[in-house]
């Protein structure tokens, strides 16, 4: 593809991709370097052997799995490039490009129903069971035993904030000013979230980092559990000293984990070269890597406007911009309004075999059109990442207007579960500024609770 000259990228290094040497940037997510190198096709899917490539760049999909240094099923968007890294595509024979099992996709044009296929058909049933077992699964056992980790640590802290986007950062600032000891964890290797990885937006707050000992980056909360000491968040923390498991016991928890990339129904909606809006903005803003040269943009609302602006700043004018309108009130987003797109009742259709080549769509007046493109960016508001809140016992509701789930909370972000607050996009689509505001409100509510204790 192309890399913006203004970008601050790591040093050029080489990685081995299926025996070919590919140039990559040290420290950059592997998936981003591979997009830059034009390597969109990363594997074949588990059942139909459909081509797969990075989609969300944020560990919320399973589309960028590769074998890295002998370890199967590594999310390429989560692993940092180093010189000499060995990368192998998975689940394809003889190669991901010419995968003989690709016939399965053609053989079952309407999909197959694994529960009933050939059920009870003599002989065929046994043959199928054998074939199915051989075809199932991605990757093979790791080459080597894992390096043992140092023993897990425990940490007691009055407040734990999870997610260092605008909401988490703003909350941290309030707590810092009030002199409240807290930890802010961020799963990315840098803080900022949408402030430096999301769509450009007017009025976004500046990126003010908290004191270094407060912020832990590359720290992934993977669950909340209980033991004799009480409730704790289990965190996998990667640092120069190696990976470490940390149990963090906090009196107050503020969840500001944002959302996941959304999937919308249209044909071939997972072809390599189709990216979530925030995957595109993340590549551009953090790494200076463009999603493509001929980019089609589909989306709605402020998210569409913001991604459009981010692309424009990177010098990309979309070959087409399609506005899906809001679900319950069909119509254009006033701020974009470039070309009315079709609503989902008249779906778009992605074209291409190993990666996206074009897009079919229907204009509101009923005209069918086709554009060529080498990337399709889907700019929809993220779907709230309710999972941790749900594990803590918070109520999660379906929001019919946004067609997503969201965490139920009052104006301060209190969830009704003792000691659990939420802020930012967990509460539904909002601007970065609004997210910061909700983070501040939650932090003040936590302070008020502290004071009352």
């Amino acid at each position: 593809m192309a890399r913006l000259s203004s970008s601050a990228s790591g040093r050029r290094v080489s990685v081995d991709l299926d025996g070919r040497t590919i140039e990559a940037r040290e420290g950059e997510p592997l998936a981003v370097s591979l997009v830059d190198a034009g390597q969109l096709l990363l594997s074949r899917s588990v059942k139909y052997h459909r081509p797969r490539g990075a989609f969300c760049m944020a560990a919320s999909c399973g589309n960028c799995l590769v074998r890295v240094n002998g370890v199967p099923n590594v999310q390429a968007c989560r692993v940092a490039v180093h010189d000499g890294m060995r990368v192998e595509r998975q689940n394809a024979y003889p190669s991901a490009r010419v995968d003989v099992f690709g016939f399965i996709d053609w053989f079952f044009p309407r999909g197959m129903h694994h529960n009933t296929i050939l059920a009870g058909v003599p002989v065929a049933e046994q043959v199928m069971a054998r074939v199915a077992r051989q075809l199932a699964g991605l990757g093979t056992l790791p080459d080597l035993p894992a390096r043992p980790l140092a023993d897990a640590q425990s940490l007691q802290v009055p407040v734990l904030i999870i997610g260092a986007g605008p909401a988490g950062l703003a909350a941290s600032q309030v707590l810092t000013e009030a002199g409240v000891n807290h930890v802010l964890i961020e799963r990315d290797h840098i803080a900022g979230g949408r402030l430096n990885a999301g769509p450009l937006e007017a009025g976004a707050p500046p990126l003010d980092l908290p004191p270094a000992n407060t912020l832990w980056t590359s720290a992934q909360a993977f669950g909340v559990f209980e033991d004799a000491q009480g409730r704790f968040v289990a965190v996998e923390h990667q640092s120069i000293e190696g990976d470490r498991l940390v149990r963090i016991y906090a009196q107050a928890l503020l969840l500001a984990v944002g959302g996941h990339a959304r999937i919308i129904p249209f044909e071939n909606n997972e072809l390599p070269g189709i990216f979530a809006g925030r995957a595109a903005t993340r590549m551009i803003r953090r790494h200076g890597v463009l999603p493509g040269r001929q980019v089609a943009l589909v989306g709605r609302g402020e998210e569409l406007a913001g991604v459009h602006a981010s692309l424009a700043e990177a010098g990309i004018t979309p070959v087409v911009t399609l506005d899906l309108g809001v679900p319950d009130a069909p119509g254009p987003t006033p701020s974009v309004g470039i070309e009315l797109g079709a609503l989902l009742a008249e779906p778009i259709r992605a074209l291409g075999r190993a990666k996206i080549r074009g897009l079919n769509y229907r204009t509101p007046d009923g005209t069918d059109r086709r554009v060529s493109c080498d990337a399709l960016v889907l700019a929809l508001p993220p779907s709230p990442s309710y999972e941790l809140a749900s594990q803590l016992g918070a109520q999660v509701d379906f929001d019919p207007a946004q067609e997503t789930f969201r965490v139920r909370a009052d104006g301060s972000g209190a969830t009704g579960v003792p000691g659990v607050w939420v802020a930012g996009e967990l509460l539904g689509p909002c601007s970065a500024q609004e997210a910061a505001g909700s983070g501040q409100r939650a932090a003040r509510a936590i302070l008020a609770g502290e004071a009352a204790r």
Partner: protein, 496 residues
């Protein structure tokens, strides 16, 4: 080819959702299980809202009935080596569970209308036992039956089962039941039109201590006497069976090639479909709230959707059986015990048999989809209907699995869950009549192994109930009276 995918991890299309709904799976948990959406590497992050959005748009599920499926730990695929780095306190029992409550039903999912006003037989519990019995009653011409299930199909232990099926048991009666069940499983797809994915890769039991080795050897003798082909094998042969396995400290290994693994969910779909075909109502999301009794019997089963007048009641509610029996004034000796289990990412086939170390209780096998599915009992687990997950389990299991499978440390756990074993004092089931409540029949207490026994037990109980085999001693030998009489025979081959 043109497909629109809702779950790219598992190649589930939007069309598959329609197919699931057309087969009667109309709540999220059921659609998840029928289509497999949300069970891949993304753990449902991208597909769950897409499924709900689609169901909402098509008017298939009202917003108030839309609840995301259980958010299971870990929230991100987490390596065994990471989980194993947490030192597990030897004396500290598991505490709590994640999530704190697991909803098997919500008011919005409760079907409209009342349950049938009367039925000859009411079966409480729509798990594998209850439905196997209902299906077998239908085969014997008895279709005046209603099955009551408190949640969605598969909400209970059947849906939480690891899928292992084995003939390696310690008593002749259990060997016989398991052998007959596996025989019936072989013909399941033909009989029901649904794949059970039985794969007879064998069970490899390992024993490390002298005491456990002795127990294993004795059970092999029992099995051989029953004609089951279990063999005590040398370490070299065990290594050939599973080349990646570490056999350090293993004293004795036993292998039966006819054991295997199944996919437990289709069991219920097949049986439930058969019930439906025979006119037997399977009332899901329906809770038993009491009984009306007269003299020495039950006249009505009271539910939150009305009463059913009946002649016979069968209690097949697994770990929920004791509180339900209590509603009829009957005390069961059974106790629920959480058993945790987990699944890794899917891998290409490398593991033939299910492997279990009898000493620690760890077991693991490779599913048809390629995941390593396994669990491990916890001697400190307190009794209680708790189905949340703990980190204690994840850490204990990860350490034990890494020791057995040294190259597995960088494999990732995708999800952990738990089910409740229905544990009896002698590890044998509770079957047959209830002293003092004549028309209440027991079909519970299977100690986590109901799935592998249900086909045969359902067959025999239906024959016994319909008069075809009134003298079957299974239903006297394992009745409730035995706990009063002290006629206990201990089953020694309980794992998990």
């Amino acid at each position: 080819m043109s497909k629109a995918l809702v779950c790219p991890c598992e190649d589930v299309t939007f069309d598959n959702l329609d197919h699931a709904v057309s087969h009667g799976h109309t709540d999220i948990e059921s659609i998840k299980r029928f289509t497999g959406f949300g069970t891949g590497m993304c753990q449902g992050k991208s597909c769950m809202p897409a499924v709900s959005a689609y169901l909402h748009r098509k008017g298939l599920l009202p917003p108030e009935a839309q609840a995301p499926f259980t958010a299971r730990p870990p929230l991100q695929p987490t390596r065994l080596a990471v989980l194993a780095s947490d030192p597990v306190p030897a004396q500290e029992p598991p505490i709590g569970g994640t999530p704190p409550t697991i909803e098997l039903s919500t008011p919005a999912l409760k079907p409209d209308g009342q349950v049938p006003a009367r039925a000859k037989i009411v079966i409480i519990g729509g798990g594998v036992m209850g439905l196997s019995l209902a299906h077998n009653l239908a085969l014997r011409g008895e279709t005046d039956v209603v099955v009551l299930e408190q949640g969605y199909l598969l909400a209970g232990a059947t849906g939480r089962n690891g899928g292992g099926v084995r003939m390696q048991w310690g008593t002749a009666v259990n060997v016989g039941l398991a052998r007959r069940s596996i025989e019936l499983m072989k013909g399941f797809a033909r009989e029901f039109g649904i794949n059970l994915w039985l794969r007879q890769g064998g069970y490899l039991f390992l024993a490390k201590s002298a005491e456990v080795a002795d127990r294993l050897e004795k059970s092999v003798a029992v099995q051989n006497a029953m004609g089951v082909q279990t063999r005590l094998i040398e370490q070299s042969e065990a290594s050939e069976l599973v080349p990646d396995l570490s056999l350090r400290g293993v004293r004795v290994a036993a292998f039966n090639p006819d054991d295997g693994v199944i996919f437990p969910w289709p069991f219920l779909w097949g049986y439930a479909q058969s019930c439906k075909r025979h006119g037997i109502a399977v009332e899901t999301f329906t809770r038993v709230t009491g009984f009306k009794q007269s003299g020495a019997g039950i006249t009505h089963v009271v539910t939150d959707r009305g009463e059913i007048a009946c002649e016979t009641v069968v209690l097949a509610a697994g770990a929920w059986s004791p509180p339900i029996a209590q509603l009829a004034g009957v005390t069961l000796p059974n106790q629920p015990h959480r058993h945790e289990i987990c699944s890794t990412e899917p891998l290409k086939p490398f593991l033939g048999p299910l492997v279990s170390v009898l000493d620690s209780g760890i077991y693991f096998s490779q599913s048809m989809r390629g995941e390593i599915v396994g669990g491990m009992g916890d001697p400190l687990e307190p009794a209680g209907l708790q189905m949340g997950s703990t980190m204690r389990f994840a850490s204990r299991y990860a350490s034990a699995l890494q020791e057995l499978l040294p190259t597995g440390g960088n494999l990732k756990i995708l999800r952990q869950w738990a089910g409740c074993y229905d544990v009896t004092p002698d590890h044998n089931p509770v079957l047959g009549r209830t002293p003092g409540v004549e028309n209440l029949l027991q079909l519970n207490g299977f100690v986590g192994h109901g799935v592998m026994m249900a086909p045969a037990v359902g067959e025999r109980m239906a024959a016994w109930m319909t008069g075809a085999a009134p003298d079957d001693d299974l239903f006297t030998r394992f009745n409730l009276q035995r706990f009063i009489d002290g006629r206990l025979e201990k089953e020694s081959m309980i794992i998990g």
